[in-house]
Amino acid sequence: MKTIKHVLIFFLGIGFMACSSDDSNPEPDNEPLAVEDDTPEVTCDDGIQNGDETGVDCGGSCLPCDTTSFAVFAITNTEDGSGFLVPYDDLPTGEVDISASLENGYQLASTRFSGLSYGNAVYAPANTFGEAGVQKFVVNASGALEDAGFLPGGAASVGSGTIYGIASPSKGYYSNHEVNPMAVQIFDTNSMTRTGEVDCSAAMNQIVANMDPADSDRIVQMAVGGGFMLERDGKLFTQMFFEDENFEEVVDKTFVAVIDVASDTLEKVIEWPDFIRAGYYSCINCNYASVGDDNHIYLSNWIGNFTDPEGLVFRTIRIKSGETDFDTEWDINGSRDFPNGENFFLGGTVANGKMYVKMFNDPVDPTFSQLGEKKYAAYEIDLATKTPRELTDIPIGYWRSIHGPEIYDDKVYFIVENSEQDDPNDPNTGKYYYYSYDPNTGGSELAITFTGGQPQRIVEMQN
């Protein structure tokens, strides 16, 4: 089944980057906002920042400032996947020409796999030249993005490459398998320097010791810190891999390390009796692993071992809020739960008891030759009944961006790429649409039309 890997490589253009990164929480921990005072200062409308204001006429004892801003990872040259990270004060709406804002942006050699935000910073999975690692950007006083430090992820990667996650305003984790494949690296997000590592080698060696020798003897590399890296309630969750010479897991299990953030120690390793590449295959920050609004961690993918007899199938498992073990009572398995053979989904954002994905709306034949077809639809999956519902008022599109839907302002944003790129007469050529779905009303509408670049992911920053 190395063959399946090829089709994925083909469709994903995996060569765009040798690394990947964490699909960590797209909704960063919000800083506490200033609380409105009952007796506001009269200077709240004088057009200058004074008193205890944290911005001009806002914050402190005035009304809270609009503290969010956004940045869009956009491919501006689809031929090599290069593009820009472009900052916006507000969530873009209507027609937005990305190329009009590039002066404030930052060029990225590889934009296919995009970054995540935490606080007022964006963390991209590669530097401007495309070298894998953790690249921090902040918006400077003149509104332009600037390089705020880079930590290399190293050339070696196990699982799906260099992954990172931010745990607190000053602390983050990342993997650099060239430094130590059996440890999670710790870094200071302010200075962007490595401060240490969480060694997981003893636990990993113990897992190997407990394996059937027929399995353990086939291990050629093992590593922690691949697939995804998510912090929740003081614990960092990330995947462990034990691979044979074909980069397949030697046992059909998903191993997740649970690290205590306060003590930087490995608390335990939890197991799920089926291997999935949580956080997708070589996709970085793609939202296939996420913390839902119910505070559960959802780990999704349709890829396990390429030699799995069940093939590629939609699977989601979870770790419930307040727990550090898998929820053994619950999972989604597309071939078991989906009535119409839907598969090949992108995403896994969870809100209001629903999971939102983009998904192929037809059964896929074994050659996967249809994957390039215009058949990707927006879906809402009910987590209780595990049934998918196609959101039919959102147009069908192609699979070009590899990122899943995102939630902004309580609405789910689906990207729709439906242009026939080789047809100069197609009115959609050069346009990339975001449709917003309101779970409260059940309605969808065209929210953003991007031109001048192919958006990959929008991240929200707290200033």
Partner: protein, 783 residues
């Protein structure tokens, strides 16, 4: 009489490289026996005239038959008239000695044109580098070529690393290489510009835009034709060069004409070895924890060795063959690979090796005074090996860092066997003094198959694509009519070409084992040159051309270049206009201005594919406009200064996938570059019998974008780029200088050269730092 017969200079000049047999040739010497370069030789009563070359040799491409007078003259010498009888199949060779004239020089001096000058003035834009002038220098061929306007050779790092040449803004395979007019695809890496010794070369000809029929190939941007020395003359040359980074280069070129026979035999050989362990610094490199490494790093896995030997033998000037030559060659190469396209990740064990064996046959005959035919056949076999079997990765200190089960780039132990066949036929028929017809057809075939235990399979068929035989067949044919009007002031060539392509190569993703591609197309062109007077001319050429991708573009290079079996040929409209004139009466200041316009559809470019790989792909239309200027000043007989300036605007059009990049500059190609060179000869004082030649070159390349970037973000010339654009190759200033010391009594010379004298930071197209200041010393023996 035949013994000194130099007439068969087969590959004498660009357009008619292989077409002319000369029934009349000779040598002009002064009364002390020194060859008189530039002496003019005219056949009285005809319009035929030629100029002696640097060795005093002259020849007539063709002559009428009968009794004639030859008028030989040179500035400052008495004109001499010699009677000659010219008969069919009776070549004549003469040695003519001119005595110094005591007369005052005329005010108006008409200079003879050297062969090189004549070639420069052909209707098709061609630049000629006379190798005799630079052969003693340690300067490598890429650096010599870089001194021409509109031409840019880029080498990725040190000696032996790959070179790419850009002519008028097109580069890579859009430029064709020829050796004596034969496409060099079959020669493998042995023909790499950076390896070729200059000792056995006569000229380097750079064709810009339109190619003459005789070259018979498909190219869009032009061509480089290296002409080797004639086989009908004895020569011996040997040189040894040592340079920084343990570089050793040995060249040998011998041709021997067996006395009193028409047999010749020769040997050409080179040996190049270098450790390439140069030091560099790079802002891009950090330690594993992100701390910048500011100290100098040393390349540690970049040694390169190439060996080449060619033995040839044959006959010349017989009744049945003007030249018949058989050549057998062997080439091998061993190369350590230090990096992919990124400097950040060094490679410590990846290696490449190649062995090429080849045999070729060349035949030319002036069948009648009007008919000339030329045939070339070659077979070569390339065996290449790529290995990436490292168990560890490396850092820039040469230390192993971490185990890798997948090699450093991609686990491989790849062996490729490739068979190449070339056949070329060229014929020329002179209808009359005004018109001639040329016919040319070139056939190329490549058959490739390989093995690699680690290669991935096609995802559906389960078969390793590398093990499936790939084939490539190409035929390019042309028919042209040459014409001369207005007393030869207007020279033109009209031609049509036919392109045929058939390839079958392994499919990486599809259900079928292979992908097949078939293409047939036509092209045409026209070129003119009008000479106002001896020094002023206008030339214009237009071609609707097709470029068929080369086998490597379809098959990949099995290392960093991925295959693309579905590339389609690119087509273009090319227009070149040039004007040249001298600016003063003494002709010591000359200027040449050329402009080009090219509209290329399905433009093929190499795209980076991740950090290590690249792939050839058809992209959208490219419009190239450019202007190049050459100034030459000769303040005195012993010194010269020249400046070449190129500005080219290469922009994408109809970019459907990325309308935001409409009209943006084609990335990764320099768009403004200049070269300033000066040299001066001295006679060594104190009565020593030494000639000294000091020379220097300053090459400037303006910054350019690595990636396609919106036009709105482009800085103007010499302006700073916006801070948001970071993938830039910065402006580069390179100064090379040297001195050549030539002994007068023995044919020995010694050259010392400093490369990158300013210790400037220089980069290749992927920001790989090139060597800082380094040195070369070369000793040349030439007879």
């Amino acid at each position: 009489m035949y013994k000194n017969y130099f007439a068969i200079v087969i590959f004498f000049s660009g357009v008619m490289v292989t077409l002319g047999q000369s029934p009349l040739s000779g040598k002009v010497l002064d009364d002390t026996g020194i060859p008189m370069m530039g002496a003019t030789v005219q056949l009285q009563g005809t319009k035929l005239g030629v100029v002696a070359d640097e060795n005093g040799y002259f020849k007539f491409e063709k002559t009428p038959y009968g009794n004639f007078k030859l008028v030989v003259s040179s500035l400052g010498f008495q004109t001499k008239t010699v009677a000659v009888q010219l008969k069919r199949s009776h070549p004549v060779s003469l040695t003519i000695t001119l005595a110094e004239s005591s007369e005052q020089l005329d005010e108006v001096v008409v200079r003879g044109k050297s062969q090189e000058q004549q070639k420069r003035e052909r209707p098709i834009k061609i630049e000629v580098i006379d190798i005799a002038k630079v052969v003693q220098q340690a300067t490598s061929l890429p650096e010599i070529i870089n001194q021409i306007s509109g031409v840019k050779v880029r080498q990725s790092s040190g000696v032996g690393s790959n070179t790419t040449i850009a002519i008028n803004g097109l580069q890579g395979n859009a430029i064709r290489f020829f050796k004596d007019g034969i496409p060099t695809d079959y020669l493998g890496r042995s023909f790499d510009l950076s390896l070729l010794p200059t000792g056995n070369l006569k000229n380097v000809e750079i064709y810009k835009g339109v190619l003459p029929i005789a070259l018979g190939a498909d190219a869009l941007g032009g061509a480089v034709n290296l002409t080797t020395k004639e086989k009908s003359r004895d020569y011996r040359s040997a040189s040894y060069e040592i340079g920084s980074f343990n570089t050793n280069i040995l060249n040998l070129g011998v041709n021997y004409v067996i006395p009193k026979t028409k047999l010749h035999a020769g040997v050409t050989s080179y040996y190049t070895y270098t450790d390439n362990d140069y030091e560099f610094t790079s802002d891009d490199i950090t330690d594993a924890f992100g701390v910048p490494i500011t100290e100098e790093l040393t390349r540690f896995h970049d040694a390169f060795r190439a060996r080449y030997v060619d033995v040839n033998f044959g006959v010349h000037d017989t009744k049945w063959a003007d030249i018949l030559d058989i050549s057998l060659s062997y080439f091998d190469l061993n190369n350590q690979v230090q990096n992919g396209i990124s400097i950040v990740q060094p490679l410590g064990e990846v290696t490449q090796a190649e062995i090429t064996r080849l045999a070729s046959f060349r035949y030319a005959k002036q069948i009648t005074p009007k008919w000339n035919v030329n045939l070339f056949l070659a077979y070569s076999r390339n065996d290449t090996q790529e290995q990436d079997l490292a168990e560890f990765r490396y850092n820039w200190f040469g230390e192993q860092t971490v185990e890798t089960p997948s090699g450093e780039v991609q686990l491989r132990d790849q062996r490729i066997e490739q068979d190449n066949h070339v056949a070329r036929f060229v014929a020329r028929y002179d209808l009359n003094e005004r018109f001639n017809i040329k016919l040319s057809s070139t056939y190329n075939s490549v058959d490739r198959v390989g093995t690699d235990p680690f290669a991935q399979e096609n995802f559906i068929t389960g078969i390793q694509p590398i093990t499936i035989p790939s084939t490539y067949r190409k035929i390019v044919s042309g028919l042209g009519i040459g014409s001369k009007f207005f007393g030869q002031k207007l020279v033109g060539e009209t031609f049509v070409k036919n392109y045929y392509l058939e390839t079958e190569s392994a499919s990486f993703f599809g259900e079928s084992l292979t992908e097949e591609l078939f293409d047939r197309s036509f092209g045409f062109g026209q070129s003119f040159k009008y000479e106002f007077d001896e020094t002023t001319y206008v030339r214009i050429s237009y071609e609707q051309a097709t470029r068929i991708p080369e086998a490597d573009e379809y098959f990949g290079d099995n290392l960093f270049l991925l295959p693309n079996p579905l590339l389609i040929p690119e087509t273009s409209d090319n227009l070149n206009v040039g004007i040249a004139t001298n600016l003063n009466k003494s002709n010591s200041v000359a200027v040449e201005i050329n402009g080009f316009y090219r509209d290329t559809k399905d433009f093929i470019r190499i795209f980076p594919q991740g950090l290590l790989f690249s792939i050839n792909r058809n992209s959208f239309t490219q419009i190239a406009k450019g202007v190049e200027m050459n100034f030459r000043i000769n303040p005195s007989e012993s010194s010269s200064i020249s400046a070449a300036i190129t500005y080219q605007d290469l922009r994408g059009k109809d970019n459907l996938d990325n309308p935001n990049l409409e009209d943006s500059r084609t990335p990764n190609i320099p768009y403004f570059f200049t070269n300033l060179s000066a040299n001066k000869n001295f006679l060594f004082p104190f009565g020593w019998d030494l000639d000294l030649n000091f020379y220097g070159n300053y090459l400037f390349t303006e910054q350019y974008f690595v990636r396609a970037t919106e036009k709105s973000l482009e800085p103007g010339l010499f302006e700073k780029a916006p801070s948001s654009v970071t993938n830039i190759i910065p402006s580069q200033h390179q100064v090379n200088m040297g001195v050549t010391c030539k002994l007068k009594k023995i044919p020995l010379s010694l050259n010392f050269e400093v490369i990158n004298a300013l210790d400037a930071e220089l980069y290749d197209e992927f920001r790989i730092p090139k060597p800082l200041r380094n040195f070369r010393l070369k000793m040349t023996y030439r007879l």
